[in-house]
Each structure stands twice: as structure tokens, then as C-alpha cells.
């Protein structure tokens, strides 16, 4: 197994799948500004996915491009977090999912800019600037909705309770991470989880939301074991290339 390739695919797939989920809001946003905001975010994520998957293809050395990786792999070969493939639900659900993910990505990229791998460091530096924007957007909405009306509060609290089981996977680490840390390719991720909890708790407190005490963990994405939702995403995402192989425009 090529640990670097595996790691890049994990980061790239997280970006691609959450980008696709956000793109599903195009034309369905609760207000025009949010419709535009979510598609803007989506574009950033698909751009980040392109960077990671392109580099993954180069590292693998089998001539696969970023498009080959995005459009021609099956669900079991996808390495994204279960969190990012969860359905959009209502606007509150999408915002909570985004917030939990953005908080993680900001802290992750703040570490990866120190990677000894120049390309990872460059993608992280580029993405970090965008991620700060994303996190501000999702945090402000979590606070507005949580500390909003009774109904908005209840809805985001329910979303938080539903999605919490997928958050332990954000800090999943296996032999891939161990090898890259040992080889000095990526910095140690020690303290990432506690830093994430601190930053998330701060916003949730301001939003008057209760941190779920459910510690049930739901993991598997990093090993290609997904929820039933990913297959449907790929069916839509990959339709064109599957139906018309090699299609370009």
C-alpha cells in the first residue's frame, strides 16, 4: 500500500463528496444569498478535491488523472468520512454538518501547512484561506439557528444529535497516518481532537445547544466501508462518464 496515495485520496474524497452535497442545494437554498453561498463553498471544495486527487494520481504513478479518480472508482474505493456523505436534510442539518467539518478542516490545514511534502503544504495553505471563510459562515449560522426560535433551535439540536456519532471518525488514524508521521511527511496530529472539541464547544455554547452525550461511534469511511448514501451520490456524480466513457466538452 502506498500510504501517501491513500492519505491524499482521503483528503480529496472528503472535499469532493461534501462539495457534491453542497452543490445539491443549487436552486433549492432557503434564501437566494444562501443558495449562492452554498454553491460558492461547493466550488471551493471541488477545487480542493481537484488539487488533492491530481497529486494522488501523480504519486500513484499509474497515469490516473483527478478525473479518473473522481469518476471511475467504485464506492469501496472511496475514502471519505461518513459525515460528509450524510444527506443534506433541512438547511439546519446541512449547516451543522458543515460546521463540524469546517472546524476540523481548519485545524487540520493549520497543521498540514507545515508538512514536509511541498505539494501538501501548498494545497493546505491555499485551502486554509478558504476554510476560514467557510467556518465563519457555518459558525454564524449555527449560532443564529441555535439561539433563534424554538423551532430553529430544536431542528439544529436534532441535527447535532444525529450527526454527532460521525464525529469520532474525524480523528481516525491508522497505519497510513502513522507511517506518514513517522516518515516526517505530515506533522503529528496529537491534540487535534481536543482542539476541535474546544472550538466546537465554544460555538455550541453561544448557540445555546447541548453537546450530545452520545458516545456511540460510527466509523468505516477511511477503509471504504460507507453508509448507503454514498452509492447514490456516485450514481449521480459518475453518470456521464459511466454512460459515455471518455466524454469531454
Amino acid at each position: 500500500m502506498n500510504a501517501l496515495f491513500e492519505y491524499l485520496v482521503r483528503l480529496g474524497d472528503d472535499s469532493l463528496i461534501i462539495g457534491h452535497r453542497l452543490s445539491e442545494w443549487c436552486g433549492h437554498g432557503p434564501i437566494l444569498e444562501e443558495d449562492i453561498a452554498m454553491t460558492n463553498l461547493s466550488l471551493d471544495f471541488i477545487g480542493q478535491a481537484t488539487s488533492f486527487l491530481k497529486y494522488a494520481g501523480e504519486v500513484e504513478g499509474k497515469g490516473r488523472t483527478e478525473d479518473d479518480l473522481a469518476y471511475l472508482r467504485f464506492d469501496r474505493d472511496y475514502r471519505n468520512l461518513l459525515l460528509v456523505e450524510q444527506p443534506n436534510g433541512d438547511f439546519g442539518m446541512t449547516i451543522v454538518r458543515q460546521f463540524l467539518f469546517d472546524a476540523y478542516r481548519k485545524l487540520l490545514f493549520e497543521r498540514l501547512i507545515h508538512s514536509k511534502d511541498e505539494t501538501i503544504a501548498a494545497i493546505a495553505a491555499k485551502s486554509l484561506k478558504e476554510t476560514k471563510y467557510h467556518l465563519k459562515h457555518s459558525s454564524e449560522w449555527v449560532i443564529r439557528l441555535g439561539d433563534g426560535t424554538e423551532e430553529s433551535h430544536q431542528r439544529v439540536q436534532d441535527s447535532l444529535d444525529t450527526l454527532w456519532r460521525y464525529t469520532s471518525e474525524l480523528f481516525y488514524a491508522d497505519e497510513v497516518d502513522e507511517k506518514l508521521v513517522k516518515d516526517g511527511v505530515i506533522p503529528s496530529m496529537e491534540g487535534l481532537e481536543s482542539a476541535w472539541k474546544a472550538s466546537v464547544n465554544e460555538v455550541l455554547a453561544e448557540a445555546t445547544l447541548k453537546v450530545p452525550d452520545n458516545n456511540w461511534k460510527h466509523e468505516g469511511g477511511r477503509k471504504g466501508m460507507h453508509s448507503e448514501h454514498l452509492g447514490y451520490i456516485l450514481a449521480e456524480l459518475q453518470y456521464m462518464q459511466r454512460a459515455y466513457p471518455g466524454l469531454e466538452w
Partner: protein, 161 residues
């Protein structure tokens, strides 16, 4: 034989497809120009990761230099150092304003939640009494504002650092 200086001049005729008053030089996306025998290599950097204009800019650079008689041009996309709106030239800022897009202002730390949006003077009437309608606008690089005096809605080129 073409010189590097001439290449830089030719690039001032290549425009950003999204903001067609700005050249790629005004925008600050051209990092390097080098010439080796007959091959011209232009290094550019994207504004945002997912900016759909980058491929078009790449093609336009090749087309323009070919038109100017450069035998072979290669465009390389690099991510580092990451682009910032600080690289938009003074001339570029002036052109943006004349075109009706407010140029980037010095924005405070973006991580502060519910911070008061930066004051962006209206490019139409110059009034400082404007309001942010949406942090996200028609493209990834812009926010949407409206002037409270002349009521004109306008785009603001967001500060990215």
C-alpha cells in the same frame, strides 16, 4: 527573437474572463516568465482553488503569445505561494472601481464571528454609507453590497489573505 520583457508586455493584453477589465498582470496571477530556446514558460497561480476561469486563462495566454509569434508556450499552474488580493496592482484597483466593482479593502481578521462588515465605498457615487447584502456573490472572489445613498447594488472584490 522575443525577450522576457516583451512576453510580460504581451500578457498585459490577456484579460480575466470573469472581470474583463483586469489583465492577468493586474490580477497578480502571473508568477514567472522564462524563456528557454524557443519555449516560453509562464507560471500562474489560481485565485481560488475552484476558480473555473483558470483553464480559460491558460488557453488565452497560449493563444495570445502564439498570435504574437512565440513558437511554443507552456503554462504551469502552481499553488504556492498562495494568491492574495494584495497582489492586485494599483492600476488593477483603479480599473475595478471604474468598472463598478469595489476593490478589496483592508479587512480585519476574518475568524471573528459576527464582526461588523468592512466599510466599502460605493464605486458608483463614492458614498461610504453602504451595506453588505451577502458575504458571497456572483463569483467566489466577490461579495454583494448595496449603496444606501444611490441605492445601486454592487460587487465587492473580497480581501483574501
Amino acid at each position: 527573437m522575443v525577450t522576457e520583457k516583451e512576453i510580460w508586455q504581451y500578457l498585459e493584453e490577456v484579460f480575466d474572463p470573469e472581470v474583463p477589465v483586469l489583465t492577468v498582470i493586474d490580477l497578480g496571477v502571473v508568477q514567472k516568465v522564462s524563456l528557454e530556446s524557443d519555449v516560453c514558460k509562464v507560471t500562474i497561480t489560481p485565485t481560488y482553488s475552484g476558480c473555473p476561469a483558470m483553464k480559460r486563462i491558460e488557453d488565452d495566454i497560449i493563444e495570445k503569445l502564439t498570435e504574437k509569434g512565440v513558437p511554443k508556450t507552456e503554462v504551469e499552474l502552481v499553488l504556492s505561494p498562495a494568491w492574495t488580493t494584495d497582489w492586485i496592482t494599483e492600476a488593477g484597483r483603479k480599473k475595478l472601481k471604474e468598472y463598478g466593482i469595489a476593490p478589496p479593502e483592508d479587512e480585519p481578521d476574518k475568524t471573528v464571528l459576527f464582526a461588523k462588515p468592512v466599510v466599502v465605498p460605493c464605486p458608483n457615487c463614492g458614498s461610504r454609507d453602504t451595506r453588505m447584502v451577502s458575504q458571497f456573490g456572483s463569483t467566489a472572489c466577490k461579495a454583494h453590497y448595496q449603496c444606501n445613498d444611490c441605492l445601486e447594488p454592487f460587487d465587492y472584490f473580497k480581501c483574501l489573505r
